[in-house]
């Protein structure tokens, strides 16, 4: 119980830290804070600028500004994008949906394929296929995700023309969506699977070595089927934590893949915001992404606590 409490407190502190960072960064950075808060290259008249300046209240003391900021947050007001002429919050909502969709699918697919392939590879660790696949897995996990996406893009879209170039769909049918999302999901899955693969493989090899000697001695009780199930069970627990820790990393990778495939998700939103120095969007995106990742971690932690019998036994 004590551990769980500690962890929860840390999560809360973390969320609070992110909220505060989000508040502090634009105000601490070099340059005119108003520009930092509304974005550069924005065409507004001097009057509007002054109006904005007093609205944002940069002349008021810091804690008042912070209070206003928190107040806005609670009301889900993340500011206004002068570039795109829309509420940041509503922009993010639209885009986030697609990103989460594609990341979610990829993580699940990647976890399943990676884990299964990794377990097989670890079990038959001497076979040539296993070694070959491991090399491929290593190569994939060492490549920057966007580069992998670029290769796929140039081969499958430009050269072979199998998949469409950009956007999420031509007509709003599921078939079209699948057609468009297929390639990004494949790339993302490969990327997340490769990490899971390597970890699972290592974990199975370790388990195999620790049980093998034991079972080899007790030859009579040596049953491959039971051994396999037992190892899988033991080796899967660290996987859950790994997926949780990785969520942030994978989500970030997804952003780049979206940019490469020109999908209308968070990725392109952020990319355009960077080009146009649209800071409110960037801030809003940072907040939303960071909190999503932390919540995912929290969820995984809770899940892990429920599943792992060792954890339960210790709380007496």
């Amino acid at each position: 119980m004590k551990n769980a409490k500690k962890k929860l407190i840390r999560y809360l502190i973390c969320i609070f830290a992110i909220i505060t960072l989000n508040f502090a960064i634009p105000r601490a950075m070099p340059g005119d804070p108003v520009m930092n808060l509304i974005g550069e290259d924005v065409m507004v008249s001097a009057d509007t600028l002054n109006q904005i300046r007093s609205e944002i209240g940069l002349d008021r003391p810091v804690y008042e500004q912070f209070a206003t900021y928190l107040w806005n947050l609670i009301h889900l007001d993340l500011g206004y994008s002068y570039h795109l002429h829309a509420d940041v919050a509503s922009l993010l909502c639209e885009r986030m949906f697609w990103t989460l969709l594609f990341v979610g699918i990829a993580i699940i697919l990647g976890a399943i394929t990676g884990t299964y392939a990794g377990a097989l590879s670890g079990w038959y660790s001497d076979s040539k296929i296993s070694r070959a696949v491991t090399c491929v897995g290593m190569a994939v996990s060492c490549t920057p995700p966007y580069f992998l996406a670029l290769i796929f893009l140039s081969v499958f879209v430009f050269r072979l023309g199998i998949f469409p170039f950009k956007a999420l769909y031509d007509e709003p049918t599921i078939a079209s969506v699948i057609h468009h999302l297929a390639l990004p999901v494949i790339v993302m899955t490969l990327f997340s699977a490769s990490r899971n693969f390597l970890i699972m493989r290592g974990s199975v090899i370790q388990e195999k070595n620790s049980h093998y000697a034991l079972y080899a001695r007790a030859k009579g009780l040596f049953d491959r089927g039971i051994l396999w199930k037992h190892i899988l069970k033991n080796a899967s627990l660290p996987l859950i934590t790994q997926v949780a820790l990785d969520f942030g990393f994978i989500f970030s990778g997804a952003i780049f893949i979206e940019i490469v495939f020109s999908l209308n998700g968070m990725g392109t939103l952020i990319y355009d915001a960077i080009l146009g120095r649209d800071y409110p969007v960037l801030q809003g995106a940072f907040l939303v992404i960071a909190i999503t990742v932390i919540l995912a971690n929290l969820l995984a932690d809770i899940l892990y606590g429920i599943i792992d019998p060792r954890v339960r036994v210790n709380e007496r």
């Binding site: 830290a17 290593m138 140039s154 120095r277």
Partner: protein, 272 residues
Amino acid sequence: MNKKGLPSLNRYGIILLFVFLCMALIPSFFSQYDPDERFMAYEDPSSKHLLGTNDIGNDIFTELIYGTRISLTVGFASAIIATFIGLVIGLTSGYYRGNVDEILMGFTDVVLMIPKIPLIIILAAFLRPGIWILILVLGVLSWESIARVVRSKTLQIRETGFVMSARCMGFSPFHIMSSDIIPNLTHVVAPKFMLATAAAMISEASLSFIGLGDPSVKSWGVMISFAFTKGGFIREMWWWYLPPGICITLAVISIALIGFSFEKGKQTVKIE
């Protein structure tokens, strides 16, 4: 592990890294041009220009070779910063224990949970892109796993006979930490250091791709970004964007292999 206690390092990793180091240290050996020299733009690969030329006529092969030192520097420099911070925090936490440990570890946990890449993006977007700022930011955001690992090993080492003896004899904590504990930490820090280098290189490439890198310093990542934005992609100039990407992958693989071999060296029995 061989007799002297050094891990048997992975051959391929070392060879690869050695090649890259040569490219970084003696680039003129590999290419006779200067990376800023201009020729005809958009040329295809030929015997004069092994990888053709880019949009303003620079020889791509030369850019590739000269880009090595930048990418490697970013990787290693960030890792050094991260390792330094991680060592200090992990050592202090593990040696003094008690409240100091609780506070530092709580802090580390919180930092661990903050997703790095979004934070880097937002920081880089506000700060003017410059290579050293990039290195600093990358380094300052990667120390947590090093700190944790240093701390747990320090807790262990602290209870050994020689450290307790040293405390008993009255050596100063600084002496104990630097002379007794740190040298025994290399096995756990080395793989993490390599990992940090690899991660920094990938992050730099990714950031450069979305325009947050330092365009004045042509790292491999910047090369790919230029290929994408200056029409190399549309013209299917695979010789422009593929080689830097492959280099990044190979460099990261070599570093990862070396890092893994440090870890393997620790285990006593291994039936592969």
